[in-house]
């Protein structure tokens, strides 16, 4: 039992050197009192990629930098800044990469076109099948 408990504790412990000892920024894990502003902030956070954990949005990440970004976003929304403006401010610094949502950049057009292409390919195949069956 004891070694098992020790193992369990080792799994739960966060690496000491990887994160800072400072408490999270004031608005990192605290909601804005105004529900509408909080909705805007949350929606924006879900579209921003975490710089430390690259396959999470900052809304989902526990990394200290993601917490700092959440806090900064909430503070700026409370100060009256528009979510779009904050988003483009971040993209101007980190590039399209920081967007956790695919943008409409030309390089992503094949991505948006793929469902349509696959659907029309499917329709074409279906038409061929139906024609063949009629002939039989």
């Amino acid at each position: 039992m004891k070694p098992f408990l020790a193992l369990l504790l080792a799994i739960l412990a966060t690496p000491l050197a990887a994160q800072t000892a400072l408490p999270p920024a004031p608005w990192a894990d605290r909601q804005i009192p105004d529900a509408r502003q909080e909705r805007e902030a949350k929606a924006l956070m879900e579209t921003i990629r975490c710089l430390t954990c690259q396959s999470q949005s900052i809304a989902d990440s526990n990394a200290s930098m993601a917490g700092d970004m959440r806090s900064q976003i909430r503070e700026r929304i409370m100060a009256g800044e528009r979510p779009d403006a904050i988003r483009s401010w971040l993209i101007a610094r980190y590039g399209d990469w920081v967007s956790y949502e695919p943008t409409a950049a030309p390089i992503l057009w094949p991505l948006w076109a793929a469902p349509l292409l696959l659907l029309s390919l499917g329709l074409l195949l279906l038409r061929g099948r139906i024609k063949r069956r009629r002939r039989q």
Binding site: A17, Q19, T20, A21, L22, A25, L51, T52, Q54, S64, M65, D68, M69, S71, Q72, L90, A92, R93, Y94, G95, W97, V98
Partner: protein, 175 residues
């Protein structure tokens, strides 16, 4: 047409194999470079991060001489590893300022007492605000800032012993 279509699945299969193989031999570049390279430093003013050095503001950079801006933290292990290289750069006459990320003054003091202090000024960025404004995605990072206050180069990760000559060269070019 029909005869050609028979080969389509095989062609697709081979295309995927090719895609995966290229991914194996050429791993992803996961380093996120700042888009501000070539532009002016964003404006900021930070309080002092250590007890024996003044704080840092962006206005102190456009002095006609290139400077290094080192992003570090006392809790960051690679930052301790790059300390000797920063001391070597200082010994070569480079002026270095720093921003301590998510840090506290006593911790920075202890870190500098242990690993040496190559910095002229140290700003304390307790909530990573300036780090985000710089487009920096981690610690340590080092920016070469030219004499007009523009970012000339961003070095991501710790400065290794064999990077020192390259950084010196970048500083010389950034007059």
């Amino acid at each position: 047409m029909r005869k050609l279509l028979i080969w389509l699945p095989l062609a697709l299969f081979l295309a995927f194999i090719g895609l995966f193989a290229s991914g194996l031999f050429q791993p992803d570049d996961r380093i996120i470079h700042s888009r501000l390279v070539g532009q002016s430093l964003p404006s900021f003013t930070l309080p002092a991060g250590a007890s024996d050095r003044p704080g840092l503001s962006s206005a102190q950079f456009a002095t006609g001489k290139p400077r290094l801006l080192n992003i570090f933290a006392s809790w960051c292990v690679p930052c301790a590893a790059e300390a000797p290289q920063l001391m070597a750069l200082k010994a070569a006459g480079v002026e270095i300022d720093a921003i301590a990320i998510r840090d506290a003054r006593p911790d920075v003091d202890a870190f500098l007492a242990r690993y040496g202090n190559p910095y002229a000024r140290i700003g304390l960025d307790a909530r990573s605000g300036v780090q985000i404004a710089l487009g920096s995605s981690g610690v340590p990072e080092t920016f070469v800032v030219d004499g007009k206050g523009r970012i000339a180069y961003q070095h991501i990760g710790d400065i290794r012993a064999d990077d020192v000559a390259m950084i010196l060269d970048r500083v010389r070019k950034a007059q």
